[in-house]
Amino acid sequence: MSSSSEEITQTVDTLKRTALYPLHVRLHAKFAPFGGWEMPIYYSSILQEHRCVRTRVGVFDVSHLGHLELNGPKAVEQANPLVTQDLTRLEVGRAVYTPMLNEKGCILDEMIFYRLGPDRIRLVVNASNADKIKEWVGRRLGPGCELADLRRSVGTLAVQGPEAVPLLERLAGISRAETPRYSARQVTVAGRPVWLARTGYTGEDGFEIFAAVDDLTVIWETLLEGGRSVGIQPIGLGARDTLRLEAGLPLGGSDLDEQTTPLEAGLEWTVRWDKGPFIGREVLERQRKQGIKRRLAGFRLTESGIPRHGYPIFHQDQEVGQVTSGTFLPEGAGAIGLGYLPPIAAVPGVAIAVLIHGRKVPAKVAALPFYRRKR
């Protein structure tokens, strides 16, 4: 038995481990390299953990995420031209999802900006891109704004699922009304000061908790203990990937890269055309006028098989694109994926096929997201 998947064969010699690594070992986690870190992929089973987050609540160690911070009276002013969203409208205590583009209008990475104070912005970026983003941002700052790298001192736990909000109401003494979606505030959990952000990457309601690395263990244990009565479980990155894919959320490095613009990736909603200049703007304006040649689309296989990153996609017997993400879902929901298609084919209902182990497996383009939580 062997797998073609690169992440499994990658060397494990130089990988970083989060502060919770010994706890994951005790929970019998299976590990794999992810973005330079040795991370838990699952504890029980990916499908079972996926279901747990959709129906109850799960806690994830996502301390591989990179925390960078901009501090100073010119933080907002200097960060604003680096992103497509308009940070001048970002109120203190609120967060916004945004791509960061290069001069060609293509996506360096996507990330969340949290405005923690009038002169303080926290960026949470993908692990594999953190060095690149740090350098890119650092080179573009001037007096009045300092860049801090918090990767050694700050870790992140995500608590996601329908029971997440009631759980944190209990453990952090907050009310849901005071912590709306895309907000962040300082609270204490297990007696430790943390930032509690109502954000996530699963399609469920919930929180991301930013804490000092030394406090992660006690917070993790408090969450597992406090959530026991509602069936909380630790969740690995395997289910995080299937959850985000089912929620139609693209992954930087997989669905988004430096050859892709936000218009092609279905992220036009993050582009504030009414703001001032930003890096990549001219290219996007041109592309908006001329039209895009390919667009990220969702699809569902109509026969058995599992689409995976890099598999060719066919439309009317022509190879037109490649799968960028794919998975199998629990509860007989079948196999789904994302991939780039010509706009004419990127329409829900269009018949396509994915080449899987030499066999063209029929599929249908589907509307995104595949899953939307009940509100």
């Binding site: 038995m1 062997s2 797998s3 073609s4 998947s5 499994i8 299976k30 992929i41 699952y42 089973s45 990916i46 499908l47 079972q48 395997g238 299937t242 058995s304 098989g305 599992i306 995976r308 998975t327 199998f328 182990h357």
Partner: protein, 129 residues
């Protein structure tokens, strides 16, 4: 219950059981744990000829697709059709219900090149991949 001491093991985590003129093939308990959540099995065609260590089947989990190699050379005699509807049998019962295919071995003595249960366990424990 299968007596695991009667099986032979590959470094690629297949097991083979010689039963008269047939060699039955599956993956090990350790392998099913690594793969997790088997959701799809691509079985070989009956009559297909395979050489030792050649790909004979594909087992897919949520995580990735895994090639299953023939532990010995031979001709595919039977395939476990029940895995089409119930691929999870590989996780639940890797040595019994989860068998994948059987071969008419071309050279039975090839099995002697494989590991015993004890050797395989020691090899896995030593971090063998």
């Amino acid at each position: 219950m299968t007596d695991l001491n009667q099986l032979k093991f590959t470094k690629t985590h297949e097991w083979v059981r010689l039963e008269g003129s047939k060699a039955v093939v599956g993956i090990t308990e350790h392998a099913q744990g690594e793969i997790s959540d088997v959701v799809f099995v691509e079985l070989p065609k009956k009559g297909k000829q395979v050489k030792q260590a050649e790909e004979a089947a594909v087992v897919e989990s949520v995580k990735a697709a895994f090639s299953i190699y023939a532990p010995v050379s031979g001709t595919v005699a039977k395939v476990n059709e029940s895995l089409v509807a119930d691929p999870g049998a590989i996780n639940r019962s890797p040595y019994e219900e989860g068998w994948i295919f059987s071969l008419e071995p071309a050279h039975v003595q090839e099995a002697e090149t494989l590991m015993t249960k004890e050797q395989y366990d020691a090899w896995v424990k030593g971090g063998g991949h």
